[in-house]
Amino acid sequence: MTTTEARPAAPPGERSSRRISINPRQSGIYVAFALIVVLFEVLTGGALLEPQNISNIIVQNSYVLILAIGMILVIISGHIDLSAGSVVAMTGAVSAVLMVNWHLPWFWAVLITVAVGAVIGAWQGYWVAYFGIPAFIVTLAGMLAFRALTLTVLGNQGIGPFPDTIRTLSNGFLDGYLGNVGLGPLGGADVVTLLAGVAAVAGIAFTQWRKRSARLGYGQDVDPFAIFVLKIAGVAVVVLALVVQLARFKNLPWVLILLTALVLGYSLVAGKSVFGRHIYAVGGNLQAATLSGVKVKSVTFWIFVNMGVLAALAGIIFAGRLNQAGPTAGVNFELDAIAAAFIGGAAVQGGVGKVVGAITGGLIMAVINNGMSLIGAPSERVMLVKGVVLLAAVAYDIWTKRRAAS
């Protein structure tokens, strides 16, 4: 069999294909997100995208978004985690005991708490992966058990207040290291934040450009050049608008930086690492993955360990934000994270989903929460709308799949 063929060094911009890569199943979620934002921006008379409100949405939902990252990996692998909320409470309680009662330095306390999260994940991962109990059962048991342990650790009372560092991580903002700059009618804005935004746009444009050149070099299909530029420009406008609004308020929230790092890191792991590929393989066809030499059990185990670590991170941030670890922390967080994953395009059978999708799903719910409370809607109506959105999102997903199949 002949293998190599001279690879044509294609001049960029010329070998563009006829096909524009828009997949309705994947892009639908982003379009829906944009529409929901516009809808609530109109309904709230512009309050939704006020600088302070954007900041609030991010800070108030950061922990669910962190859980959603872990949850999407669990769901892609074909499992579920119902214990995440209880683990958030438990790890929050542990961190409170370490820092408040035992006066450990925050760094060691965070490290130990994350390790506790990993151990919890390993415990559940063991039963799911090596013992073969369905994750639904294992994590349902975990949901009860870790809530009970939370109460034991806390002795049935809240523990606080937290050291300043933790509170800054949860609630705080970057300092204005370089001062402010006037943006005409928009008023003053933080320079560091603006620079970060410009750097982010430049980074996105650069990596996309490199990806495109590499694809062209290998003779693969790419978007026509004009579409490529339009896409980048669209992303740039959204990112810059967001950054300008944040810069006008109080600079970048620390959790946003953490969240961005997590999203980038996990997107890379999911899409480009061998481990990430194995997650999709296990979820897509367990037997085929096994017979292809994927260490299915170990993959499943580590997915749950990872979920425990992220839940611990969310637990610390949530406790820091309330400045207290309480017994009812994290109730129903797992459901929000699961909903985020499914709204974001994960498939119930596993094998499908993206980190960015789950984040978008989480943001859709966050905007609905926030927007409806801004227009004074009662909480029962918010719940109703969220339920309908979840159902509609999955129905849309199944509908597009069915249409593609017939």
Partner: protein, 506 residues
């Protein structure tokens, strides 16, 4: 004889594809009518149009049944008229009893309450009619697939079937069960039940059919009287060209021993005392294609899978030697590392991730070769997949096509590509051409020959003896877990192999 079913000018288009184009089918009362064609020729689509899976209005053309024009809106409509389809994948509920399955959706009831006496009594009568000696209260999962097929037929008979359509009814059956099934169909024909049978097994078609209709590329090519019809004649119609040889020519160059298995013994994972493979010995040599023949349940797949990293079985004992050195193969990973590959008989369930594209399936077993420090080089991966798409002639527009939408032959090529990419010394191919049309089979044989020519040792497991005879240099026969015989290419005949395969345990 009068016409029972007439389908005229049937055209069915899917977005971008014309699956059927002006197809005509005429089935006479009381005959067995075979439909032949390559995969993708439109057989299944035609049957879905007939049974109402694609309701009236979604296709063009006209269907008449029993002299009346039919416009079926659903499967229920067609069943009410007496048209019943038995699909290749049986639609039975494993945990329910035979009787419950027979009357599923058609329960013997009184005001919503099941009449169990009537259910079991009538089921017994139907079982007698299809020649199945089983208790009707037994769970369907406890009986073999051959018997399950008979339960499906009993179910069809319970609905007062006039036209019975069987899609690949013998694909999963061994020769005994197949013969019994074909006898049963003859019996039903004599009772006045008209049958349409879709089959890739042309020997069966010539043996049982009264009339043969051949489809190719969504068109009716011809309708032939089966009397005096040869397999070669049917193949000519199916592929539209003369297939002088069903097997590509090959000059074997056999070298030294690559793999030797000694005293290989495997027990069933479900039943601790059931010996599935019993002290099997076999050797594979460089550049050699070796066959493994055996009836259903003889332990062929079990032998292969237990060797392949203990993927099947319990209490496995015996020794494996690679190039004369004993190796320990405890996991699939070990097997791959030792240069052993196994392409499964059930590619949809065990071979492919059907929701992923060709690229990711091709790389699934050899991903480490495309990765540096845990990160996958996607461009190299794309290149690799593209190379195999060209070399193995996988028919897909790009390597980003989802494998679930490929035809059986192309799916099999993706599975082969996945294993060839791991660069094995030993390839075990379990039913490599099951459910694949004649043209694609030839291509798969060519690939197998090329692999042998590259110096790999190939073990082919197949239920089709002519395939083994046409392909292999040497053939082992397996019966009840024991290797009961070995035949060289020159000596091997179907009769000899069958003798070995049916040898009782002494």
């Amino acid at each position: 004889m009068t016409e029972l079913l007439g389908m005229r000018g049937i055209t069915k288009t899917f977005p971008g594809v014309k699956a059927l184009s002006d197809v005509t089918l005429s089935v006479r009362q009381g005959e067995i009518h075979a439909i032949c064609g390559e995969n993708g020729a439109g057989k299944s689509t035609l049957m879905k149009v007939l049974s109402g899976v694609y309701p009236h209005g979604t296709y063009d053309g006209e269907i008449t049944f029993d002299g009346q024009r039919c416009e079926f809106g659903s499967v229920r409509d067609s069943e009410r008229r007496g048209i019943v389809i038995i699909h290749q994948e049986l639609a039975l509920c494993g945990q329910l009893s035979i009787a419950e399955n027979i009357f599923l959706g058609n329960e013997r009831q009184q005001r919503g309450w099941i009449d169990w006496n009537r259910t079991n009594h009538e089921a017994d009568a139907l079982l007698k009619r299809v020649g199945l000696a089983e208790n009707a209260t037994r769970a369907v999962q406890e009986i073999g697939v051959g018997k399950q097929q008979l339960v499906e037929i009993a179910k069809a008979l319970s609905k007062d079937v006039k036209l019975l359509i069987l899609d690949e009814p013998t694909a999963a059956l061994n020769d005994d069960d197949s013969a019994h099934l074909l006898d049963l169909l003859r019996g039903l024909r004599d009772e006045g039940v008209t049958c349409v049978i879709i089959s890739h097994k042309l020997g069966e078609v010539t043996a049982i059919a009264d009339t043969v209709t051949i489809l190719r590329d969504g068109k009716t090519i011809e309708t032939l009287d089966a009397a005096g019809l040869t397999e070669e004649r049917i193949i000519t119609g199916m592929v539209g060209r003369d297939l002088e040889h069903r097997f590509p020519p090959r000059e074997p160059e056999i070298g030294e021993e690559v793999l030797r298995i000694e005293d290989w013994t495997v027990y069933s994972p479900n039943q601790a005392d059931w010996l599935v493979v019993d002290r099997a010995n076999l050797t594979l040599r460089r550049g050699e294609i070796v066959g493994l023949a055996g009836l259903m349940g003889a332990g062929r797949t079990e032998l292969a899978m237990s060797v392949f990293g203990r993927s099947y079985g319990k209490n496995i004992s015996g020794r494996i030697f690679k190039h004369g050195k004993e190796i320990d193969v405890r996991s699939v990973r070990d097997a791959v590392d030792h240069g052993i590959a196994y392409a499964t008989e059930d590619r949809k369930r065990y071979g492919l991730n059907l929701i992923e594209d060709i690229q990711r399936n091709v790389s699934a077993a050899g991903l480490d070769k495309l990765a540096k420090r845990g990160w996958v080089d996607e461009h190299a991966e794309h290149d690799t997949a593209n190379r195999y798409r060209r070399d193995l002639r996988i028919k897909a527009p790009t390597v980003n096509s989802v494998t679930g939408k490929l035809s059986g032959g192309n799916q099999q090529k993706v599975v082969l590509a996945k294993w060839i990419f791991t660069d094995p010394d030993v390839l075990i191919l379990d039913e490599p051409t099951r459910g694949i049309d004649v043209g694609a089979k030839f291509e798969i044989y060519t690939i197998i020959n090329e692999l042998a020519a590259q110096g790999k040792a190939v073990l082919v497991i197949s239920s089709e003896l002519p395939e083994l005879l046409g392909l292999c240099d040497r053939i082992y026969a397996l019966s009840a877990g024991r290797i009961t015989g070995e035949a060289q290419r020159e000596d091997a005949t179907q009769e000899l192999l069958m003798q070995y395969m049916t040898k009782e345990r002494e």
